[in-house]
Amino acid sequence: MIVAAAVVVIVVIAAAAAAITRGGGDGDPGESIASQLQIMGNANDDYTIDDKDMEIVDDIIAGTKSFTDYPLADANNDGKVDASDKQLLQDIIDRKSGTVLRVMCLDTSGNNTVVDVEYPLRNVVTYATNMQLPVLYANGGQYIVGYFTSSYEVAEGSINPAAKDLEGSSREISDASWTLFTQLDAGLDTGVGAFLTDYSAVAQITASRQADLDAAGIPLIIYPSANAADEITTVLTLGFLFGGDCESLAVEYAQASWDVVNAIDSVVGDLSDSEKTTYISCTMWIYICEGDSTYNTTATDAGGNWYGNVNSGFGSTYSGDGSTKMQSVEALSNYQDVDVVINNRSMDWGLTADEMRDLIIDDCWEKDRDGYAVKDYFAGLEENMYFVNNILPGAVKLAYMAHILYGDDFSMEWADGILQQFIDMGTAPLEGQTVDSIPACIDHSDYLDAKA
């Protein structure tokens, strides 16, 4: 009798805990997703297209709601809401193959635009890590037919093995690579379905290349995905476009991501700037991120206060949206009162214990930079310096940054739990990994342990 009662209690507690950690209970599985699906027809501007959007379209046609209040109800993007939008919306709700979706994204000038994309999206070509990884996180690697660069053997291992390496680089799409791309398009029966890139790489899409895309009828989808919050929207939209399991995975990804965002906000949202932990972001080991850089945006989303806000000298020296290389090991010598340094590094995973130790020592703390070890540039700040893996899902990065900034509120175990949640989700780049095989957050004690 006692045993049975204990079992019942355990089951009830476990069920309650599961409901809390999933953040949903019996309600809408995506109710906490603040990202908006970037597809016309998403009339209520939420994370998906469903009957709720159709109700709004019906109300607009009936005159009980105003089109100006729901501009996304215009599913076919013709400037009005009528029966044709209703028909298209129904096709979208039915996830009917061959439906032409109007996808909202950026153009090469950074302005909002709408491009036509056939559903479900197939035969994509990707460029830039900040776009390629969201495609993979939405399990869209199977639909990649060409890519210009792949730098992470394991993290990007889910790219379709038959996809063509177009031989570009992270910095440039050469003319030869572009020719390979146009040849790839010409050789496919249905052509390339879309060209996907991150806004930070948009300089490679010159006017003549844009003209090539237009002539071939290839939609160019550009999103700014370097920031964690933006990345969630990108994964959500791409998952919808790929359809099927990709859509449900993307919703789960976005849900889990926003749970992290909300968890962080519940603790640090009411803090004044003076109460917040100050941080300096770095990248490429010894480059100091400037005030408006996306790395700083992510750290600020994690509840941090950029050090430039409390030290005007640092703020004026490192204003801008790029990064500045430290010209000497003295560069941070006068900023020793910063609370933490977050060093953003892109690190592949699938590491053994020995490989992890080598990475921590040789590729992080003792990496040679202009004759000095990286740790020499952070003299006096070593114990407050953390490497965070930049190619992890945005929400996982936020979780580790929240731990770095507010360790008392967000333990390392909590952040590891978030990573484990994404591993368990079934997103391809993390498939088969463990918390121990991924270099997620490396601190000074990890370095000392590795040296020992």
Binding site: R171, M284, S328, E330, D368
Partner: protein
């Protein structure tokens, strides 16, 4: 009497710029991003030497970072300037320097292979050590090619320098091909190396730099009499009992080795190898007995002062190569306008 007075002025020039370099050494210890007063920096320097207590942070930045950098500035300035003297002397050409002979482009190619492609001439080496070794070895290739070509086909000094320029363009084009496909990260590293910085000079770098610099400058100074013979031209040298080509090859190898040992640690610091000798020549004339120490003193003083400016320029310092050219170019034009006689011979 006038001859002795002239010589005293030449010696005075050497002493003056050696003193400036020495003074700049102590001055530059207090310059940099880390805030420290002049007196505290001097205190930290001598405190470390005496083994007394020094604030650990002061000690780190003054002794571990700024002192080797300052010594490196003196060595690089002296070495590159003397290398320029020898090359201009050997080829009787005022434009000869480590750049025009392809030494710098060779070093840059070697460094680029390491920084961008991760290729090390010695497979066991990696990181900065591989870059240093690559740069040193590749910087000697142009000189080797010039000497080999000259050995198999009798060449005039002009033809030899043109060979150096051809090698420079060849190496530069190979480097550009590599850089076209470089990642942003490695491209930035390569660019930083290209413009030259004393930031890379550490205590570990100094033994090689110091030994090669001192030995080569001393040997070249001892050979100053033979270098002077080169002014008479190849035939003139022959009438004086010297073989011009042999002197040229020996001194060129010495100057190239010295240059290689500097630029492999610092990257290609331009200007000083070309202009240092010209400025010194304006004041002490072309006699290598005075010109070599005068160029060394001027080069040392110029580079350490330029690096002092470089350390406090920009967000957190600028490469010294940039400052050298930025200050040195206008300064040299001003000196050329002010001086009346020809500085060359």
């Amino acid at each position: 009497m006038e001859y002795r007075a002239t010589n005293r002025r030449k010696v005075a020039f050497v002493i003056l710029f050696a003193a400036i370099a020495a003074g700049a050494f102590f001055l530059t210890l207090s310059f940099g991003v880390y805030d420290i007063s002049f007196s505290d920096s001097i205190g930290a320097f001598f405190g470390h030497l005496a083994g007394g207590y020094v604030d650990p942070t002061d000690d780190h930045y003054i002794w571990d970072v700024r002192t080797p950098r300052a010594i490196g500035a003196i060595l690089v300035g002296a070495g590159l300037s003397v290398a320029g003297v020898v090359m201009q002397n050997d080829f009787k050409n005022p434009l000869a320097d480590p750049y025009t002979l392809g030494i710098s482009s060779g070093a840059f190619l070697g460094a680029t292979l390491s920084l961008v492609l991760g290729i090390s001439l010695i497979p066991a080496l990696s990181g900065n050590t591989a870059t240093v070794v690559n740069a040193m070895v590749f910087s000697l290739f142009p000189t080797a090619i010039i000497i080999l070509v000259a050995r198999f086909r009798r060449m005039t000094p002009v033809a030899m320098i043109l060979t150096g320029i051809a090698v420079m363009y060849l190496f530069s084009s190979i480097t550009q091909i590599i850089l076209v496909s470089a990642t942003a990260e490695s491209l930035s590293d390569a660019y930083q190396w290209r413009v030259g910085s004393l930031n890379r000079v550490t205590w570990d770098s100094l033994p090689v730099m110091l030994a090669v610099d001192v030995v080569m400058i001393l040997l070249l100074w001892l050979l100053s009499g033979k270098l002077n013979v080169m002014y008479a031209g190849d035939r003139g040298a022959q009438t004086l009992g010297e073989t011009a080509q042999r002197i040229r090859v020996v001194t060129l190898v010495m100057a190239s080795l010295m240059t290689a040992c500097m630029v492999c640690y610092t990257g290609t610091i331009g200007f000083i190898g070309l202009v240092g000798p010209h400025v010194a020549r304006i004041f002490v004339g072309s006699n290598n007995r005075y010109l070599i120490p005068a160029s060394a003193a001027f080069g040392a003083a110029f580079v350490i002062l330029a690096d002092t400016v470089a350390k406090v320029s920009g967000a957190n310092g600028l490469p010294v190569g940039v400052i050298c050219s930025m200050i040195g170019g206008p300064l040299f034009i001003w000196i050329l306008i002010r001086q009346r006689k020809s500085a060359w011979l």
